[in-house]
Symmetry: C2
Subunit: 546 residues, 2 copies
Amino acid sequence: MLHLNLCHIRKLYRVLTIACLFTAAAGYRHVSKTAAKTLDEFDYDGPLMKTEVPGPKSRVRGDVLVFLQNVGAVHFFCNYEESRGNYLVDADGNRMLDLYTQISSIPIGYNHPALMKVLAKPHNLSAFVNRPALGILPPENYPERLMESLLSVAPRGMSRVQTMSCGSCSNENAFKSMFIWYRNKERGHNEPSQEELNSCMINQGPGCPDLSILSFMGAFHGRTMGCLATTHSKSIHKLDVPSFDWPIAPFPKLRYPLEEFVRENAQEEARCLEEVEDLIVKWRQKGKMVAGIVVEPIQSEGGDNHASPDFFRKLRSIARKHGCAFHVDEVQTGCGPTGKFWAHEHWGLDDPADIVSFSKKMLTGGYFHKDELMADKPYRIFNTWMGDPSKNVFLTEVLNVIKTEHLLEEATRSGKALLQGLYELQVQGGDGRRYHRGFGRCFKQLFSPQAQYPHLLSAARGVGTFCAIDARDDATRNSLISKARDKGVILGGCGEKSIRFRPALVFKEYHVHLFLNIFNDVLAEHKVFRFRQKGFVPAEETLKVN
Amino acid sequence: MLHLNLCHIRKLYRVLTIACLFTAAAGYRHVSKTAAKTLDEFDYDGPLMKTEVPGPKSRVRGDVLVFLQNVGAVHFFCNYEESRGNYLVDADGNRMLDLYTQISSIPIGYNHPALMKVLAKPHNLSAFVNRPALGILPPENYPERLMESLLSVAPRGMSRVQTMSCGSCSNENAFKSMFIWYRNKERGHNEPSQEELNSCMINQGPGCPDLSILSFMGAFHGRTMGCLATTHSKSIHKLDVPSFDWPIAPFPKLRYPLEEFVRENAQEEARCLEEVEDLIVKWRQKGKMVAGIVVEPIQSEGGDNHASPDFFRKLRSIARKHGCAFHVDEVQTGCGPTGKFWAHEHWGLDDPADIVSFSKKMLTGGYFHKDELMADKPYRIFNTWMGDPSKNVFLTEVLNVIKTEHLLEEATRSGKALLQGLYELQVQGGDGRRYHRGFGRCFKQLFSPQAQYPHLLSAARGVGTFCAIDARDDATRNSLISKARDKGVILGGCGEKSIRFRPALVFKEYHVHLFLNIFNDVLAEHKVFRFRQKGFVPAEETLKVN
């Protein structure tokens, strides 16, 4: 048995860090041999890189697509047929461990056998070939389908669900539901006046009332014009598009780790909540009543900004107090990544919300709502497709897999390992030691090529695998993501300088270690590069220069 | 050979009408035995009704669904697996000839063999199982898929396409493209100012400018909040939802048939065009520049309101003159029902539009646009899914079938027969005779059970199978639709009192005759019912009363 004290650990770390620098600089094989091998049959056993990314085949395709679309956001082209589990394969045959999963929208990995089987069953096929107008002509099995899929995971207090085609449509219609509910309350549930019916036809009040939705700075709720009026994450999303004069409250800017800054964070949250109430009153005085409040359990696009359960409990109370509907947007947080099916379950409320919207991992857009938020008449919340039953067929299977493979527990377990690893990468010296649980972990860490990069990384945070970490700045973040990709790991950015982790629910602890090894290499190389820029060149490198 | 003059024809018509009244009242078999039998293998050979609609099985399902959703708009529940070609089968086994096709969204009939084959090909399956974030990680075959599907039917002057998930999202993003294009012009294609970037984050100008889209009364462009500000068809769509102060022009209220009222209609169109120009100037003076004009080639939800090609040519010129983008919304008219792939092709313009949006029969939402309407930067027009490649796989097959089975010609041919039949049902005495082409048609008609219902029907109109007819009033329209359904024909309503016909592109001439026979029965029964209300009871009926 090996006995080490803190001093030993620090020394060994330093040695390992330097060793790592050299090996990385010399083309160190980025896939750690220590990665566990107990992979499921539909998963690959590790990344496999053949070219840089985007490789030549992706580039050729990009050169064609550029004539058809703006391709400025395209990363590379994918071979979805060859992708499996946690691994996305690109057009050049590069196989990458995917921690971004199509902007957090692949629930149980690529080509999951359970989903492939859906298409092998003849009785499922008509759902794909004949897309119905769900609001008028639902399939005969539709009530059962809803119950075995969406209703089986209905948030507390909600027994009604309306599907939609995408996240934006879900939020738009959720907003409309709140406006309709609010006006019905105001008119005492009487029929609308002729003046209302006439004026709304020409976009004027009282038929089109001056109601508003309160949202938060940093929020992202979609890009259609109603949603966009509540989205405040990046200017490029909003520039040049007309908007509504709706109230925007500050979202708490917390310090991480949350457990360490409880008092400061509580103060910051109180400040924001006070502002919320002030804005509701101010808008009421302007004659623009706040019909609803919309909030994400974790602001995702805006930079993975967290708030405490206490904040959300109080916010929910403020909504109730002022007669505003409370809409929780779980488009990105929903369907398990936080270790609970809905992120708002972490708040521990019996009556968490009036509306909960979803999309992405749920495969179909839509929203759950309380009885009273149901539109009073048909055709008020309506469109041609109103979702897509073929997505419900897949969702039923996804929910089965989540249940039978205990994927929520998996997300909790993997998430803990991921966050722990991120803490270890960001901490300086002893600061991070508090996260080491016992000798075993210290020992393991000493012999893993992990190093500490406090100058590069900070503010590791997360619930389940829904984690993020801040890079030093935007350029560093982008460079780290790009280098990780070349080494076989797909990451996403969010906010100004954050890296977000959005693996599928089949992302297991050994995937975490695989990722951490590779990410460590990336960070190590970044360090070398930085030293080089400053004039420091490791010995082996000097030889190579000649 | 039988020789008949006009007098004979009138007499025979009268006899047939009365005979028809009696047989209909006595439970006349509604499926005409004269319907042609040369049906494709995937079609049924006629309606087959077992219960009223909704039948008991639909009702039971409705009683369940009511606990989950507002079911006020649900007609009945469908057995999509058993549906074929032009026939929709319901949960009770009733088989109906479908002239509404899921609000005009089934292009080539139910369970078309070509679409079923798509799902039998293993290499197609990953497109269904792994829905990508198209804007960042498109499938490797995506450029080819776009070219063989959407780009193969690109409207004149447009080589770029952006897919979206549904019609509303398509129009919302088309509007955003117009706003971005307009502001880029205004700022001389320079970078936005810091003030713009900052102000847009809080929904304020100059970053969120006070731009507008001009739309028409009676228009329908969707139900999300940007679209809804351009939708003016029914108050129930708009009531209680905040809107934008955007200009709304009158849409021509034409008299039908168009060929008969050329002079009056031209005057009406001139009046509307003048108003369009006035509104653009007025809004400019208000500081709310009109960035774009959006229009449907035929106002569909608003009541199948037509305007002449000349109107649209002039409208397009007005848009150009005032520097507004011209957006043609082909969500309902596109993909062939008018006999041309896009309805705007009937205008005969080389440069018909800047943007053409689509959805419904195209299976995927999206819009074509000219080069200059492409957003200047990535992530300005963006969302997670940006469409669904699995829909493109089906669309490729749909376009193949349209081409190989000459379905545009079919729509023209069937449409002519349908419109002719509608004229004949609505005309009084000799008025309709001008539409009879030669002796053969007169002869055929004499021995069909068609009658004339000028007191019930008027204003038959249409291009291709995209036809409509007005009922006397809303109640009559609804009653006719409901009775037709009980006799095995599905129709849709639109506007205040119109019936719209939206069959699939595989709707052939013999389906037209099958429909006309049944519809004639419905009208005949309606006549009886009306007489009965007035105290008139045909002889056979008197016997039955006792």
